[in-house]
Amino acid sequence: MIVDAVQEREDEFSEYGNCKGPNALYIKLISSDGYDFIVKREHALMSGTIKAMLSGPGQFAENETNEIHFREIPSHVLHNVCMYFTYKARYSNSSTEIPEFIIKPQIALELLMAANFLDC
């Protein structure tokens, strides 16, 4: 029964796509303090650096998870970066009114440096 349950969950996930292989829908971004952020590939590709990193020599193998370790970006910063990806994807080429992207002043500087590095 446990085996069946696991099988079911696997099937559920397969509906939603996964991080494995070169054509995966999602990729995993890992912050310096070990948090995993799973975001849609096309959102993450808005960052020039991430795009370059993913187009490096050698494709991801079929079962290998697409992931990038950011050993210098802490999670509170990377969290905002992922939110920005969603924000940009939602409001690019949109005719609706675009709300402000709110940035907490405490993390602003670090976020700025991360944005510089990630080119986004």
Binding site: G48, G56, P57, G58, E72, E110, N116, D119
Partner: protein
């Protein structure tokens, strides 16, 4: 590690980076972590504190690339010339891949650099140090300097040799795809050179290539022109052209093909033009379609390549046309005229479409030739017979008596006749004659279908303009209105007089302006049987439409008589005058010639004609001066029609219409001249002539005609000659 700038030990970092770069250039696989880590390294180097290591990074990378490429160069040079092209190609492909990867690795570096370079250019400072290029550009520049330039003596020659081999049917050692890649590399290397990216390609390869190709073409064309006949030469040359085209498009840069083709045309076609033209006229005259097609393909790209071919083509058509005209079957000449010319036209039109690819030059020649053919004049001063023939042809097709052709065929033939109509010069003569025929058809109810008639008129309108069909449409309306009137009259007449009708009576009301009918006999006396009806009808009409004047056109009227005095009953359709003559015999058996004329009061020649027609068909017997009914009249058919003898197309009618057209033309021309001069006030003679010709669409005025009209207007005082020497006219208000 954080993203803040910190001190960075360049040498250490560079060692790791250098390794990675080397393996990238060799296209080895790099573990993912290493790849990601390098990004960080570059970031730190560029953002280092106290001073960024941009320059050092740049210099080291440059050095590394230079060393790598020099190694490749030595490899190429030492491995022998045979494999040189192949080696170059493989190394190049590897290199370009490596550079692309490097470029994405150094992305941060590129971005900061670009921003920096833009701000520098904004300040417009003269920079002593060359600006740092982006890595991709750097890589391409290094390749250009270190490999291509030293090889510039040997490699282009090899490339040219390879390309030449297929021409001489030698086997290729290096596949042409490789050659294509190498050529592309010349262009890609200068990718960032916005002003002149093809410089390398053109100076290294294209120039000598074009020269070689010219030599090849010259040699080939000379050889072929000596060995082969013109048609074979052309076929062979076309094959070569096709081959060259395929090769050039597949392997070379797109700009080269145009230059190659112009060289080809220059050498193979233009220089041999006299050779080609020698046969070309004969080809057209003998109508060798394949040869003509080939030579057209060759000459169409050359300016003025056709020379006098258009004229020769026109001559050919004219000759054929004249042959057709001379051999026209005299019987129903108009049918053959139209149909034979249409056949000829179809034939040559298909040649122009098929062989000459609907080229404007040749279809113009076709049109000119056919205008001459169609407007062919039997004698010098007579107008051409074409309008008359065409009008008769349409008349025949539209009458009810046209049997043996389905409706679709008739429609098709009518459409085709429009083609001939377009070529006719004297379109207004056609209009007049057509109107005459149409009037006859409508009155005598001979037309097959009103829809067909209107269709034809619409087509003519499209060619000629609105005024053409205005009158014709009026005629149609008149007929339909008259039919309604007749029905009303019958009803009313039945109501008012309770007499039994022993005749049926109908009248058509025609507007004077729209119908081409001339009132001739005014003094005719209607037979008494019809007097009652005509009076009633006049009263009926005057009641309906107050203020309109009615004039009876007896010479257009027809009637049907039942002959009861003979053993067999006959129904005869007769012209009005014939009928009135016969009706007189109801009361008398014999009548004298002069008596009949007295009663009827017809003009003499009309009367003569009518009597003769009745005598000819044996309804009356002539005995000296007396006429009597023929009691022994017999005929196979019961229903007869003897109007045709009287109503045939007399050449006089056609002449009359032509004359009236001439008068119309004079008036029209004078009105046009006055209109033009009113607008322009002053105009030179030549310009005036050009304006006139552009405004008269329905006929072509001759220069003599125009000059005469101008003279008349000067006499009348509308124009005057200006005192300036170049002949000018002023408009006098």
């Amino acid at each position: 590690m954080l993203l803040r700038p910190g001190t960075v030990n360049f040498k250490e970092k560079w060692k790791c980076l250098e390794e990675t770069v080397q393996s990238i250039l060799k296209l080895d696989t790099i573990p993912r972590d290493v790849w990601h880590a390098r990004f960080n390294d570059i970031y730190y180097m560029c953002g280092a504190f106290p001073e960024p290591h941009d320059d050092k990074l740049y210099e080291s990378t440059k050095l590394l690339l230079e060393t790598h490429v020099s190694q490749l160069l030595t490899l190429i040079q030492t491995e022998g010339t045979q494999n040189q092209l192949q080696n170059y190609c493989t190394y190049w492909q590897k290199y370009i891949k490596g550079i692309t990867l490097l470029d994405s690795l150094y992305q941060y570096f590129n971005n900061t650099n670009r921003a920096y370079a833009e701000t520098r250019s904004l300040h417009r400072r003269e920079s002593d140090e060359p600006t740092m290029m982006m890595i991709r550009e750097l890589g391409l520049d290094v390749w250009n300097r270190i490999i291509i330039v030293p090889l510039k003596d040997s490699m282009p020659k090899l490339l040219l040799d390879e390309f030449d081999k297929p021409r001489y049917k030698l086997s290729i050692t290096t596949p042409l795809d490789t050659v294509a890649i190498i050529l592309k590399s010349f262009i890609e290397v200068l990718e960032f050179n916005k002003k002149y990216p093809l410089e390398l390609y053109q100076s290294y390869f294209e120039q000598p290539f074009l020269e070689r190709s010219s030599e090849y073409f010259e040699r080939e064309s000379k050889k072929l022109s000596e060995e082969l006949t013109v048609s074979e030469y052309i076929a062979r040359v076309l094959v070569i052209m096709k081959e060259e085209e395929i090769r050039a498009n597949k392997y070379l840069h797109e700009s080269t093909y145009n230059k190659l083709q112009s060289k080809f045309c220059q050498i193979v076609v233009v220089d041999n033009l006299s050779f080609l033209h020698g046969e070309s006229e004969a080809m057209i005259r003998e109508e060798r379609l394949n040869d003509i097609r080939n030579i057209y393909l060759l000459l169409c790209n050359v300016k003025d390549g056709f020379g006098s071919l258009g004229d020769v083509f026109k001559e050919l058509i004219l000759k054929q046309g004249n042959k057709v005209l001379e051999s026209l079957n005299k019987n129903q000449i108009y049918v053959h005229f139209v149909e034979d010319i249409l056949e000829l036209h179809k034939k040559y039109k298909s040649i122009v479409a098929d062989v000459f690819n609907n080229d404007f030059y040749f279809s113009e020649a076709l049109d000119t030739a056919f205008t001459i053919i169609v407007n062919y004049k039997l004698e010098e001063n007579q107008p051409s017979k074409a309008p008359e023939y065409l009008s008769k042809y349409c008349d025949k097709l539209l009458k009810k008596s046209c049997k043996g052709l389905s409706e679709a065929e008739i429609e098709h033939k009518l459409l085709q006749s429009i083609t001939i109509f377009k070529y006719i010069d004297d379109k207004d003569i056609f209009q007049n004659i057509y109107q005459m025929h149409l009037a006859k058809r409508l009155i005598l109810r001979q037309s097959q279908s009103i829809v067909g008639e209107e269709g034809l008129i619409n087509n003519l309108k499209q060619v000629c303009g609105y005024e053409f069909s205005n009158k014709l449409h009026c005629m149609f309306t008149d007929i339909s209105v008259s039919e309604e009137l007749n029905i009303q009259f019958q009803k009313e007449f039945l109501k008012t007089t309770k007499n039994e009708l022993n005749l049926s009576f109908s009248a058509n009301i025609l507007q004077t302006g729209a119908w081409p009918i001339i009132v001739s006999t005014k003094s005719f006396v209607i037979p008494e049987q019809l007097l009652n009806y005509s009076k009633n009808f006049e009263a009926f009409y005057k009641e309906k439409f107050v203020g309109r004047k009615l004039t009876w056109l007896h010479h257009q009227s027809q009637g049907e008589l039942k002959l009861n005095y003979l053993p067999k009953m006959y129904i005869v359709t007769l012209h009005m005058f014939q009928m009135s003559i016969l009706l007189l015999f109801e009361k008398f058996d014999t009548l004298k010639y002069s008596e009949i004329n007295e009663i009827l009061q017809l003009s003499d020649d009309h009367f003569q004609k009518q009597i003769n027609s009745l005598v000819d068909c044996k309804l009356l017997l002539l005995d000296g001066d007396n006429l009597k009914l023929n009691m022994d009249f017999s005929n196979k058919r019961t229903k007869l029609c003897i109007t045709s003898a009287v109503l045939k197309d007399i050449p006089q009618e056609i002449e009359q219409s032509i004359n009236s057209v001439e008068i119309d033309r004079e008036g029209f021309l004078q009105a046009t001249i006055i209109r033009i001069m009113k607008m322009r006030k002053t105009l030179g003679h030549n310009k005036l002539v050009i304006e006139i010709i552009s405004q008269t669409k329905s006929f072509l005025p001759s220069t003599g005609f125009i000059n005469r009209s101008i003279k008349i207007l000067i006499d009348k005082g509308y124009l005057e000659c200006s005192p300036n020497l170049p002949v000018e006219y002023n408009y006098v208000a």
